[in-house]
Symmetry: D2
Subunit: 349 residues, 4 copies
């Protein structure tokens, strides 16, 4: 990590980057309001930091020990990143609610749900086209029916987003879908099962769009951050980290599909400058806990929620048991605002 002096010129910055590239590595230039910082992508032992420290305009040059450097709070100059998508600011004062159907089933279904979540106070619309499923025998989303159906569903999503004034997000499941999906959505989601899929991460990062990046249910926080670094190393720092539960432990029932690791929210905020949101729907796997887990997530400091909503949960083709309806979402939106205010007004830090 090379910290430039306050008045360093673009040429000086360029010069440092060139030196790093001469060693066969990549330079990541991050211009903040107060300072410019240059990260090193690759094996840092190949660079001479003592040499870099002598270059004009360089204030400090040192090796960073964590496996995640470009997403570390230190690299981010101590401040949290605010990611703007349309009028929505993720990582700012207000919690951002992202909601919609698990799977888009038809234009009519999507629009009816979009209307409901908008009315309930959601700011971003989600809708699944390519569904990751445990069983090959289950419905895999409209995307599985063919290229045309996939594109049509994505078109509806874009249309619904524009109609109701909400940016839209969908999950990408494989590398072949990257170009198509990037044409239609504002935010690309990488699901938990793909957290370790570094080829997909790189392909998505290159599109330059904001990414919702979900923690794998078997991953430690350290691994989660290390893999988000694959996206950051492509120069894309618009990463929204999402906690969605880890594998349950123990013999006998604990009555949820996964264990929501709510402590991951403040932990990540101390380790990284990236905003963290929570998906209570997949963590709980049951409708009647979504409200409580949403409140808990916001109270823990989450910058937003990602929630599955359907006007009639019982009808949903996928994840019916964990969907809530727009009225229930409205209660969560209200509670989130109030809890967020309480949780943030704190004197001691």
């Amino acid at each position: 990590m090379i910290i430039m002096e306050k008045g360093a010129t673009p040429e000086q910055v360029q010069n440092v980057a060139a030196e790093i590239e001469r060693c066969g590595l990549k330079a990541d230039v991050s211009r903040g309001e107060f300072r410019t910082v240059i990260g090193v992508v690759g094996d840092e032992t190949k660079v001479s930091f003592s040499l870099l420290a002598t270059l004009p305009g360089v204030k400090e040059a040192r090796m960073v020990e964590t496996p995640y450097k470009l997403v570390s709070r230190e690299y981010g100059n101590g401040e949290g990143r605010i990611i703007r998508v349309g009028d929505v600011a993720i990582g700012g004062e207000e919690p951002v609610i992202m909601a919609g159907p698990c799977a888009i089933e038809s234009r009519q279904q999507l629009f009816r749900i979009a209307e409901g979540v908008k009315r309930a106070g959601a700011q971003i619309l989600r809708g699944g086209v390519f569904k990751p499923r445990t069983s090959v025998h289950s419905f895999q989303g409209l995307g599985a029916l063919g290229a045309e159906e996939a594109e049509e569903a994505l078109f509806w999503l874009k249309e619904a987003g524009e109609h109701f004034g909400m940016p839209v997000v969908t999950e990408i499941r494989g590398e072949r879908q990257v170009d198509l999906v990037a044409r239609y959505v504002d935010i690309i989601q990488i699901g938990a099962r793909n957290m370790y899929n570094q080829d997909l991460l790189v392909a998505v990062a290159k599109k330059g769009k904001p990414v919702i990046f979900k923690r794998h249910f078997g991953a430690s926080v350290e691994e989660f951050l290390s893999f988000s670094e694959y996206i950051a190393a492509e120069g894309n720092k618009d990463i929204i980290l999402c906690e969605r539960g880890i594998v349950p432990v123990g013999k006998g029932k604990s009555f949820t599909r996964y264990t929501l690791d709510v402590a991951a929210v403040p932990v990540i905020q101390k380790e990284s400058y990236l905003p963290v949101i929570v998906d209570p729907s997949h963590a709980a796997g049951r409708r009647d806990l979504i409200y409580s887990l949403s409140c808990a997530a916001i109270a823990a400091g989450a910058s937003g929620l990602l929630i599955e909503v359907h006007y009639n949960p019982a009808e949903a083709l996928v994840d019916a048991q964990q969907m809530i309806n727009p009225d229930e979402l409205g209660e969560i939106v209200e509670a989130s605002k109030k809890i967020s205010q309480v949780a943030r007004t704190r004197v001691t830090r």
Copy 2:
């Protein structure tokens, strides 16, 4: 489970209990405001429910399938139990804050901390005398120094509680301490490591005092409730269940000692009538997360918090890294009150 008719006489209740005992089992008579219910302790297959159903005053008699029956919400008539200790009501509208030092080190240390937590708004005073420790080479609490030191420390705790008007709680670690501890405290705590220690559970239950019963870090919710049944089967239903984190999962760091399973709070509330509190100190294992986890726990619906406090955390002989000071506790008390109000005012259920 045998549900008596509304106007069933004491003789009729007695008669049913006698029939159960004739089969070699124990009867648990639970008199609610609206109905009397009789539970069966032991192997239910030895009882004829069809015979019981014909006894006078019996409205319904049926087998209960869950491994926990006496603590199930169904048995509790659907209502939550409020446990009263002195002026404090655990399980009622207000969250109850229990705080104090991890280990009592001296009378002065205890009084100074008690004064601090009282001022901060705590309602119950905690203080450890017999400390469970991972290493035999670590300080094990004043209780390890001898019988006299143990009793003296317990006396100080009682004294401090009376002086500051707070009921007191301490952890019991082994069967030999039961009589002594019960003489001095208002609530007896059974720690996570002893959750499976059924002999200790029975011995503590028999004292008839309220019990804080902590979930083992390797236990599912189902196991947790099944073991609380050992206390209930002795006729003691004043059980305060406490979630304190489960064993972390995954390779690499997740930066907390345990994983706080915040979903356990609403899950247990749906399964059982017993109140649930949360211990954020042991879950986090680090001071800077206590505030966030406390807010999350209350937002999830917890009836209270159990927090380690020291006037100067750095000085503490045990768990120094996870102690907060009274000012920080004050912020948690304030936030808890406000968040509790928001989380509870909900229309849809």
Copy 3:
């Protein structure tokens, strides 16, 4: 699942398949020595099994409840599948040893290791070209240097395999590598991190080559088998399942990278007809346990081992701490043969 009568004609089989396809599902025809069985890929509720049961040549038609059907032992007619690659039979009497470097670093390194593992008694040569890594800053294999380097490394692997008379296997990391890799290797490996990557599974399955399919470290056995079904549903049943350890549990050190779930070997053999092998290298993460874990795996009934070998482990660019040398491999080969004989000669089953 539709079981045909012993003398059912190809036309009758075709007729049943056609009926299944008329319902919008796919038919999987499996011709065994003694009977032909037809599986249904997709939502079985869309098919009328009572109708299918009346078709000519059908002995029995019934719904299968498990999420994995095409890989279930029942579907496989109760027998284990033997997968033949060149002269090697995986799933037969003898345990099969697959060994080689974690990452191919040069032609010379590969040939020297191949010579060593051949001499030690290995039957299949492994070598990594596309390395999944936790840190973007680490060496990612020769495949990361460019298309030409990737192809060159794969060519060496094929060459070494032919030179030493061993079929070869390499791991595929992303969809874009499928065509290239399939041109050069005899067996394609899907790594643990990609177990849930259903798009990759389908793409690999379509190549028709045998697949080593590794269990994800956060997956239950049920999930593992359910995802292997994605490969089977493409008509490719040459799936070698590989256990390689699951995420460790608990606070404090257990001194291995993952927990080898050795019970998964006999468990899977009871659930499925597919052969199961074990990778002790990634489970242990340390050289000095490879011998013991290899012996344990074979004793538990594994059909083979997948082991990382280097002539000088300390020199390896990747996973240096878990590599063994060819002499150590030789000891494992010897022990495996003897233990396998003991473990298999059992009267009671």
Copy 4:
């Protein structure tokens, strides 16, 4: 840890111990064949090692960093400990098979099983009197019926052991049972659920009899060894460590009750001089895996097995589904001997 010179006199050893005790700590004197080593029980920072190093007869004095010192391989002089009970040597060349009923139900049942396991080749007889159970409503062993029944069952166990020439072991569940149990058995077992019960550990250790100490299913190896130190600190080093499975991880079924951590066997052997055995019965929770897991445990280097046996498993009052019969045990005994020979004859270490 203080290592004495080869010719150090008893007075010199005594002198060092006295110095340690002057600092308020306990000295643990361990006389090996080749050297005498003195361990420090308690907070080592209170001792001056530089002073101790100057005392007559002292070769070396240094602080040991691990939380387990008295059970560490280093303290044990690098050699494994062989624990002799009657004619049986645990930790020696031959694997030791300990078998018998989960719960003693009657004298006749016990004798019939004892006869069976003796004939099958077992060396030690196990039988449960005080059964830890998840449900208060289940059968808790004869020990739960009263003091007289408990003593009678223990008497039968002793009697059966003498009759068939096998040392006997039973599990102790609570502190109140220590005196009684110690009067009748050769080895006292502390079950997994009591691993963290330090008061029980101390009470059992003081009896001076060999102890089978089981790993808790939520404990890391590091915690397991740290708690065994509670026994060692009482001067009792006859500790037989027992791996019996850890809590399962993941969503969905893995088809065993616990996950047998077979790597714990060689790991512990590298960390400690204590012998390690394996209990496959509780790990599997199902009869049909006992053979495979037993073979795997011995292949991994276990010094013995602890197996539940019943002449008619289906009749057993406790754990019926995981019992095997004497014939099956015989096969395990045979396989264990052969596998043990293979696994131990290894050149490279």
